[in-house]
């Protein structure tokens, strides 16, 4: 369990501007800074930084240089939270801000809960009493949002892996605990060896997840962009054109993309997370049906929808259905196959959808510039909400994975040192809890239920 009382988070909205501030608040703020910050002037001692002065230097994670930064230290109570506060002003762009935050977390801070800086500011008397209700509502809405977005952004495969890991950990704990509770019935002889194998396998899986978190493959960061269209409208071609590679299989056969493909790309400095979906149509094919269902779900959550229309054919029932879906959404209509003889006109589509319509040819790579411009305009006009909570969410998730990995290593050490089994159980439980925070599940009565359902015990 992480009980650290110094918290950290990215304090600025994560935009393409590339400047971000990492804020640390709590007793150990300065100490944590001293572990990662090297001032340019060699004679500066970080622990003796003067309050409210800015210092220039570099942030390191171990031996690796991460970024050149400006650091501002504010001694308590003269800060927003009325606690010792450090702000690290990073220059290296979105990715680097995240790395700096990770270094801070690795060195003793805990990721701030949603609204926690404000909560602390209030509890320490920094915010006027009359604002208490606003603070409470803020905590409420922020948490709701954080929880939703963290689950929403977590890729399905990742959450499945974590659930499976948790199940296996819980099984081991339950086994140990039932043996402790009913020692004459359930023996633990030779169990350490068995557990060692299981734990090593789990450790590897957790470490793989940490790696994929590093590569940004765990959460989908960026504007969630979903490509919708009836089968064979050319959705996959549009995706391929956008990301510049043949990722999605393109065929003449309607219904080829049966699942959802996901790609990440930067467009004029804007981070896009693009999903190609199964074509939307009424279908009896079960696999395809699932694909269609998924496409609809994704559209529901999307920040931006690219609606691909086959301009060489008349609008169908399926097109009408999609138009319904995009009504209240940010959407851009791509009149695809402009190289063929168009039947549907740009004006007609604009009238029908009320959205911006771009004449497009995936085949001849026409309309791409116009599309980029349209997305960029939407973003910088502030019409596209950028979900900056995702970055802190992903940092939190990685932090939890690292904790889980450490706990599993501890189990291994305990086995090596011939500690008794009840100690394995303590560290396994820590790993179980840490993983639970990623998928938003608390512990509650899991263990007792597992014990009774899996092991026959008691006289």
């Amino acid at each position: 369990m992480n009980t650290a009382n110094t918290i950290a988070a990215i304090a600025t909205a994560m935009s393409s501007s590339g400047i971000g501030i990492v804020r640390i608040s709590g007793e150990e703020a300065l100490e944590i800074l001293s572990r990662i910050f090297y001032p340019a002037k060699k004679d500066y001692n970080v622990m003796e930084l003067k309050s409210h002065t800015v210092v220039y230097g570099h942030i390191y994670d171990g031996d690796t240089l991460i970024d050149e930064v400006l650091v501002l230290y504010m001694k308590r109570p003269h800060s927003y939270t009325a606690e010792d506060t450090v702000e690290i002003d990073c220059h290296g762009g979105v990715f680097v801000v995240k790395k700096v935050l990770e270094a801070v977390l690795k060195n003793g801070a805990r990721p701030a809960e949603a609204g926690e800086f404000t909560k602390r500011a209030f509890l320490n008397g920094r915010i006027d009493l009359s604002q208490a209700e606003a603070v409470m509502e803020l905590i409420d809405s922020k948490n709701e949002y954080a929880m939703k977005s963290s689950l929403k952004q977590l890729k399905g495969s990742v959450s499945e892996k974590i659930s499976s890991l948790r199940e296996r950990i819980l099984y081991e704990i339950a086994f140990i605990e039932s043996a402790l509770d009913d020692p004459e019935n359930i023996p633990l002889e030779g169990y350490g060896e068995r557990l060692k194998e299981a734990v090593e396998a789990m450790e590897k899986e957790v470490d793989n997840l940490i790696q994929s978190a590093d590569n940004g493959r765990m959460v989908s960061e960026g504007i969630k962009t979903v490509i919708l269209g009836k089968p064979n409208a050319g959705k996959s071609s549009v995706l391929n054109l956008l990301i510049g590679e043949d990722r999605a299989i393109v065929t003449e056969i309607a219904g080829t993309t049966r699942d959802t493909l996901e790609e990440h790309m930067m467009l004029n400095g804007i981070s896009l997370n693009i999903m190609d979906t199964a074509g939307i149509r009424n279908t009896e094919d079960i696999v395809e049906k699932i694909g269609v269902k998924r496409a609809m779900d994704n559209a529901e959550d999307a920040d931006l929808i690219l609606f691909v229309v086959d301009s060489s054919e008349n609008l169908t029932e399926d097109d009408e259905r999609i138009m319904q879906i995009i009504q209240d959404k940010h959407a851009i209509v791509l009149l695809n196959k402009s190289d063929l003889d168009p039947i549907i006109s740009k004006e007609e589509m604009e009238r029908k959808t009320g959205k911006q319509v771009i004449s497009f040819s995936a085949k001849q790579e026409e309309g791409l510039d116009e599309l980029s411009e349209a997305i960029t305009d939407l973003f910088f006009s502030g019409n596209l909400d950028f979900n900056d909570e995702i970055y802190i969410t992903s940092a939190r998730q990685k932090n939890a994975l690292v904790k889980a990995s450490e706990s599993l290593k501890q189990v291994n050490d305990s086995i090596k040192n011939h500690m008794s089994e009840d100690f394995y159980s303590i560290d396994l439980m820590d790993a179980y809890e840490a993983l639970g925070t990623i998928i938003g599940e608390a512990v509650e009565d899991d263990l007792v239920n597992e014990i009774f359902s899996k092991f026959c015990m008691g006289k």
Partner: protein, 633 residues
Amino acid sequence: MSGKNNVLKEEYDVIVIGAGHAGCEAALAAARLGLETIMFTVSVDSIALMPCNPNIGGSSKGHLVRELDALGGEMGVNIDKTFIQSKMLNRSKGPAVHSLRAQADKQEYTRQMRITLENTDHLTIRQAEVSELIVENRVLKGVKTVSGAEYYGKAAVLATGVYLRARCIYGNVSNPTGPNGLQAATHLTDSLIKNGIKMYRFKTGTPARVDKRSIDFSKMEEQFGDEKIIPFSFMTDPKSIQREQVSCWLTYTNEETHKIIRDNLDRSPLFSGFIEGTGPRYCPSIEDKVVKFPDKNRHQVFIEPEGEYTNEMYLGGMSSSLPEDVQYDMYRTVPGLEKVNIVRNAYAIEYDCIDARQLYPTLEFREIEGLYSGGQFNGSSGYEEAAAQGLMAGINAARKVKGLEGIVLDRSQAYIGVLIDDLVTKESHEPYRMMTSRAEYRLLLRQDNADLRLTEIGNKIGLVGEEQYKSVLKKKEEIEKEIYRLEHTTVGGTEKVQAFLEKQNSSLLKNGITMAELIKRPELSYEILKEIDPGRPVLSDAVKEQVDINLKYEGYIKRQRSQVRQFKKLEGKKLPSDMDYYDIKGLRKEAMQKLDQLKPVNIGQASRISGVSPADISVLLVYLEQMREIRRS
């Protein structure tokens, strides 16, 4: 006494309803604290009865008894007087899960407890069935018995165990009695419901008792007690209780047993729906085990003596509510029981109990001032769980009468705290049993340090004498001094030391190291190191044990201590009982309902209610701060 109606009227300070393990502790605590106390039982002969298993303690239950003893309860003392076998369980495992268990001579246990009760000042024992509560304006005033007699008191403790509307069942036989054919209490439930108390119906069961002369022990494994007997009570001198011990025996069921059970499931009241109550999952009947774990081809059966001077033996592991003839058939398939004669049938018992979330952590009803409850009536199971609650209910009832604040142990102080907090906070659909895995700080809540944790509290309450308290203080000091010495004693790599380490298969020293560091090595211990520790003072085994554990597991202990500090912060933030949770903006709907329903006493308890999220807790913290500010200005 009133002349007008010819109704008996008496007045006491504390009224205890029930004389089982909870009732006895409650009555003793109240009387010992100087309050005039009356204890009701349906039968004086069944005081402190053990109607199920013939032992006290066991995993985590042993912890409860130790804690109860340190606080000034009676169970530990009584079992030390009456045990016939004793065993420390989990000895090969970590110190946190060592657990003491003793086989009791049941009759002797009852007899000794009765002697203690009868010789306690201020305590009156009365055989009568309490049928009604007298409550005025939500304040308890007294109780009525079936004869119409009225007993007035300033506080009462309900400890009715499994007797309320009890029903004993096997096959299609259903007897409206408590355990062992004792009279059930049939009237009180109505009065409780009338007073707004929410009732549950639970069930439990017990195996048959058989005649020792009909058992072939040669087909079973003998189970001995420990060579060196460790007492339950911190006040019992270990030397005074070393004795010859009686053995238990182990045998197993087999496929034939299971077949008979499966073939007769349609005659089991458990599966036919005849039994409505919810049973405990941790002590399932043999039919439950066979149905739920079909892959297990055998289950353990422990044959345990019911006493030293009786031939009755208890068939641990084979509780059942199957019909009599099936019981015979299935028991007789077990090796060693081929010719067994049953003395008492196995049976299931159904009874009324409460949803304990109606109680404050002091075990007082939120809606009826002065009314407390403890034991199986609260939805727990087990003698030890009952006794622990009875003690706390008795203490708090007494303190109520004296106008003192209630005593609540928290989850970081004692298993008793975990037990009561779970009962009053979490929804439970089965009889609750203590388990070490329920204690999140179990490394700190060991059975070996219950005296160090709780004697001071027992002394403050007034149930532990000065002498006992001082001896614990002395023990504490000796432990601290010795730990300090070991942390400041450096060992160098002398020839003698290196030779010693080599002999112990421990790596040799390159630099100096403290004795405390050496103890941490898995292959070494305080005891082993005495060879190279000439400056060691003479200390008792109990002190040595504490020194060893505290140094050896220092890392884990420190970790749990720091977790406890976090925990205490939230426990310290009190929530007033008149909070209007529906008025707090930012709380989620579900949280509002749950908080309003359970009225937690502090933020810590609120955080453990299912359906209350961390965000809700943040909101509560902000709200409390706001209230504090308003009051200040």
